[in-house]
Symmetry: C4
Subunit: 201 residues, 4 copies
């Protein structure tokens, strides 16, 4: 009786933070000060790309957070703290997004791209830590199936090398790093009912 | 048991995004820097009109989202993704609203109005896609009544030509486009209990 | 079964809008650009007073909204629309608050105070309309007690002349209008369990 | 039946305010105007420290708010008002945070640090008032265990001298005050399952 209440309020708070962070991204879209309007808007294309990638990233994080909580029956203070760290990272996303959209076409392209990709890498690590903590020995899961948990762990772990590759690419050729980030966002956004079905019952 | 939980968290997240986007519109209302205050405020009338139309648009989108979910019993990943696209569009609304209110009285009136109306058209298309996906063969509906679903589909589809007309009018005479947008907002805001009653039981 | 679901999502959306509007007020508190810091902060006292009055006003509106919904069992489209109008008014509150705090110590004091008080008056009217619509013939109430409904109606109606008085005072002596607004906020914030008990069961 | 509904909506509203306030902190992170980007970002370190401490502070406040409501079965108007005061304080947190991060490296370090620490002290007092009001004679608790309530009261009370010490230190040596604030945030963030277990069942 107690546990579901704990979970539901933690989910509600997390949903609020995700929803606000994803909506605050719009503050980065600036109305051009000078006409011609259409040229000025088209000239801002890096802002739109950064907006889109960050929106998809937060959305996918939320979708996976949502799915993770379907398996979770209890929370403890350590898990709340790990969740808090994830939320800290999510609320900050508009910041590297602004940095990227301001500097992506400048000489500082490499630094801006590395910060952007690096932040996503940190969030992928954080998300994995949450799942590992919750799933080890079925600590917080509603029903323990160690084989299944291992499958999910393996799937989540893919996020870390992928985002690490995007981070490393920033130092080689920044556009490739951004392209990989966009591709990852699209890839993770594509529904994968079939793969998920054994897990989601 | 699982499905309602999924729906309720998706609704909660969507409600959060709608609520934040509708509230962030206020950031577009700027306090005049220079007196006389009353003149400066009255001079800003396009800002208020844009605020009002966008507020009503988001509110009506929310009301229809709310109604759609009354018929929906399940969600899958594709539906979550379509819902994510709709939310992407909703969070961006403050941006074309700012563009409109800044440029509606300038030479760039046509471009600003076309962007504003065009965005609403995209959202109407997106909303229709969601309903079509959910209702085809009763995929996600709580109980399938193909005749009824067709009626609703037809009703929702009216949104697309209406907003397309508003978009096209922007290139002919911008004030007419804005007037049509305002009229659509008011029209859709007017309660239609009678027409809805067969559907809503 | 259907009705409570409708109410709960309307409440959740409204809560979100109230919560965001009340939090966005903080954006009006500006960090002084120039030292000495303490003097600069103290010099901003009208900003803090406006913040406090507006915060209390939105909080009390939320508390009363909360109480009203305890008696309401159903919603219809007209009620959702009236609620939407109230939310429109609530989301705008940060705007007259900014106007007041910027102009209260200038020559435009009267205009700024009249706009501020006038907005609160409009919201009091809007809130009354909602209650009147919901309570007439017990239209949306969970159980109809026409005598009790009349008592509540009378109590709510007090808000209109009070806020009208504050509005009118703005044209006579602005500080008195602001003082009345602050007093009303404090007065309505004071718990009134005893008076409420017959109504709240 | 009535009471849980009251509590849940108060919790939902509070969750919304906490979630928004914690997310609005990001607006304080400014993208550097001038390259070199990395130097400019590193130069902003006080902004990040202030962000982190404030984020943890709000997160911990939310976690304790969450825990407090697990013991609370009813709310009354006075409690709603005290909760409103706490929320007022929480929504303002981004403001002293901005003040601190702007002035911490200037001559005004002492004033900025005192304002920052003083605000946290006020919030600790406010939180204690809420708990004292709710727990005295088990007024709003789900089940009354006066000994247990006294234990919790004692534990919460530690917050007041701790934050008072941080406030007082600001006048002696500002860095020590900030370090204590950070240490308190980390200390309260560390899970304390064992100590809590008697209380949380």
């Amino acid at each position: 009786m107690d546990a579901p209440k704990q979970t539901s309020r933690l989910e509600a708070f997390s949903d609020g933070v995700f929803a606000i962070a994803i909506t605050l991204l719009v503050l980065d879209l600036k109305v051009p000060e000078e006409p011609p309007l259409l040229d000025a808007l088209l000239h801002q294309w890096p802002v739109y790309v950064a907006y889109l990638v960050s929106f998809l990233f937060i959305l996918i994080m939320w979708m996976n957070h949502h799915r993770m909580f379907e398996s979770i029956a209890r929370v403890d203070s350590m898990f709340m703290l790990l969740n808090g760290l994830l939320l800290l990272g999510i609320t900050v996303v508009p910041y590297p997004t602004s940095i990227l959209s301001k500097y992506v076409l400048s000489d500082e392209q490499t630094v801006a791209t590395a910060i952007y990709s690096g932040w996503f890498l940190l969030l992928a690590v954080c998300f994995n830590l949450m799942w590992r903590y919750a799933s080890t020995d079925g600590r917080l899961l509603s029903e323990h199936d160690s084989e299944l948990a291992a499958v999910i762990t393996a799937r989540y772990r893919w996020g870390i090398p992928s985002y690490f590759a995007a981070f490393a690419l920033a130092f080689v050729w920044a556009p490739a790093s951004l392209f990989l980030n966009a591709a990852l966002a699209v890839f993770y956004a594509i529904p994968r009912e079939i793969k998920l079905s054994p897990w989601k019952r």
